[in-house]
Symmetry: C2
Subunit: 427 residues, 2 copies
């Protein structure tokens, strides 16, 4: 008998009807002979409604109490899902993050899982019950306070439980059929991908794919948990994300391109006229790191001599838009030290990333990528590459055209032409 | 520094404005130098909304999951109250029933508190924080599952915590000024009572007064916790309920009448023509008790000989209306055994109870009570008395008149004539 962990997002449990539908699917899985542990998010808009209540009470709620408030959302959905399952004559027990043994650090609102001790879940599964666990939440190891995991939290809960339970698969249910070669909202001809390596999914998530959060994929890779992203509306196979799908038994050939991710949430800072001397980059990015800012791409041009014959260069980097102003402030603070000429903040950029394990062995991928953008009249502002990825920064308003052009250039457009409904995965 | 436990019901935390008002009162108490532990119910209609959700999912939700669902209500209100307090610069920490150490048996929906281990609350109070505790909920000692305490649960939580913390007082906040000589909705001239003994409050609660639940008063009496019932809308003193207020230092004279309770929630079963022989009453009420039915008053008439010269009597008793049909069923099951003539079920009865510690030393109270009812043209169907109480059963539609007549006959009508707004105390 295999152990299956299933995760249902907020849109899958949005109301009583949706909850009954999810319950039927869980009951089918249980009746097929599997041990089933289910992770649920809060119903639909519950989290927003609770945040609105908090806002009415105080403009700056303490993080501990905000976590206490928000975690009531999953408590409601998990109890309702357990009730709906019981209606079918199958025993189900709901558990809070704390009861399920999800132990975190004490960083309220963005806690990290540091251990999972799922004794009560194992007991429930051992008794033949379906275990329903609240996603997105845990309990602090040091303070014993209730914590939330932050963005993508429920997916991470599911993968962490799957690892602790030695589950055979972690199924992430969403309202699309799986991972697509590009966002179907931009590209209706995007195709569902059958299989991805952990590294490919990591690169897609890190570059803007919303279907799985980066932390969840990192966790799955570390513990070798296969993820199956699939629709809660159909029985079709979705996308499998596993270790080394392209080698060993049952291997498939690595496609050159696994998919295209895009991201409009970053800003670019350019430091103009930086003296080209040893230690300057270290000084700049040391200050940025000390301020707790996560940067993504960094590009430095070749240096040119200015009128006074001093070698000068420009350095650009990208970071989340919300951190842009703080980044500028940090750099202004070291202006006398670094002696640059000027700072430019640009939050109208877009980033496109082409990801595929197969590109390692296929020269010319970058060239074809740049050619596709050029043919579409799109200017490239920054370039970054890794073994299995090529990414570029463009103007934000040209990003959709860039995705379409590259998708077509690599022959990814579907010939089936089926209509695809796309949405977020909730928490 | 004294320890104060305050309990706020659902109407006191019904929305963001109400929560901010409650927070100001808590902050004032803390700033006056007291250690403050607050127990809250769920906001206004939250419990009904959650029950409605459960109903949409399944007609018969498992009790464990219903408790998991309902306890999210207090989680929301306690976090919001803690946030509103923090807004004033006072540190507050919210705790679930489980975190507060409220240990219960495993009877979901009607659990009884069997122990309180308030280590985390003591730590919070010791650090100068206000502790906010979810009322109505606990954790099962055996199963570690979340439980709810049933009706009056939040009041009981407050008194139990007050006992465990050795608090100086348990303040129960409601939307009336205290305990009244009668229900002000029936009798606008009812007066607020300044002080009551535990026994008087027990008798009032047992006979239909809704202001405090019987279990809460029993708990307070067992542990000697003074209760102060007062309005969350004013700073006025409410009603103090304490051990022996009528003796020792600071004693007040026991009033003949503390108040009048009434109850329209009971039904009467009459067993007609019961053979008057040894063991019959034991057989009847043994069967009723075995069925788990709680009975209240029992009256047996003197026996008269029937045509066959067998001594026969009629036995009447009252029980909750919801148990009426089951009571009839139980009695039908022993008909051949007991050999009675007929069964009558009447759920149009009302019960009025006159309570006062002072009536012990004042003969003639019962006589004046019956005279008042007779003068008002009200027929008495059953009578029951104890040392500090006289109660009578009337027709349900004559009950309000009965309360008014007795209130006036004992000179309880207020001469102030102030308008009183009356409402329930929530959970």
């Amino acid at each position: 008998m295999s152990i299956v962990v299933q995760k249902y997002g907020g849109s899958s449990v949005a109301d009583a009807e949706a909850i009954k539908r999810v319950a039927r699917r869980i009951v089918e899985t249980r009746r097929a002979g599997h041990s089933v542990c289910v992770v649920v998010s809060a119903m639909g808009d519950t989290t927003d409604e609770l945040l609105d209540l908090a806002e009415q009470v105080t403009p700056g709620p303490p993080a501990r109490e905000l976590d206490m408030l928000l975690t009531s959302g999953e408590r409601i959905s998990m109890a309702l899902v357990a009730m709906a399952i019981a209606q079918h004559g199958v025993e189900a027990r709901s558990f809070t993050g704390s009861q399920a043994g999800v132990i975190t650090d004490a960083a309220h609102g963005a806690a990290r899982i540091i251990d999972v001790t799922p004794g009560r879940i194992e007991d429930a599964l051992g008794a033949g019950h379906v275990a329903i666990v609240a996603g997105f939440q845990g309990v602090s190891q040091t303070t014993k306070d209730i914590t939330t995991l932050g963005r993508g939290g429920s997916d991470t809960t599911a993968v962490a439980l799957a690892a602790a339970l030695h589950a055979d698969v972690c199924e992430i249910y969403t309202d699309v059929d799986g991972v697509f070669t590009a966002d179907p909202r931009i590209l209706p001809t995007a195709r569902k991908v059958d299989v991805l390596s952990m590294e490919e999914m990591l690169d897609l998530a890190a570059n803007g794919s919303k279907i799985l959060h980066l932390r969840c994929v990192e966790y799955a890779r570390r513990y070798g948990i296969p993820i199956h992203v699939r629709s809660s509306w159909s029985q079709r196979e979705g996308t499998w994300i596993k270790d080394n799908p392209y080698q060993g038994e049952g291997a498939v050939e690595a496609p050159i391109i696994a998919g295209i991710a895009h991201d409009r949430s970053e800003a670019k800072i350019t430091i103009v006229g930086v003296p080209d001397r040893v230690g300057v980059a270290a000084r700049i990015f040391g200050a940025i790191a000390d301020a707790g800012l996560n940067i993504d791409m960094i590009v430095q041009n070749v240096s040119v001599a200015d009128a006074a014959d001093t070698a000068k260069t420009d350095i650009s980097f990208t970071l989340p838009q919300g951190d842009g102003a703080k980044g500028v402030q940090v750099l202004q603070g070291i202006k006398s030290d670094v002696d640059y000429h000027d700072l430019l903040l640009d939050d109208s950029i877009g980033k496109i990333a082409l990801v595929g394990a197969g590109m390692k062995s296929h020269p010319g991928v970058s060239a074809r990528f740049f050619r596709a953008l050029a043919d579409a009249g799109i200017n490239i502002e920054m370039i970054s590459t890794s073994e299995i990825r090529v990414s570029a920064v463009t103007r934000a308003d040209q990003l959709d055209d860039a995705v379409r052009a590259v998708h077509t250039a690599f022959g990814l457009d579907s010939t089936e032409g089926e209509a695809i409904v796309y949405g977020g995965t909730g928490r």
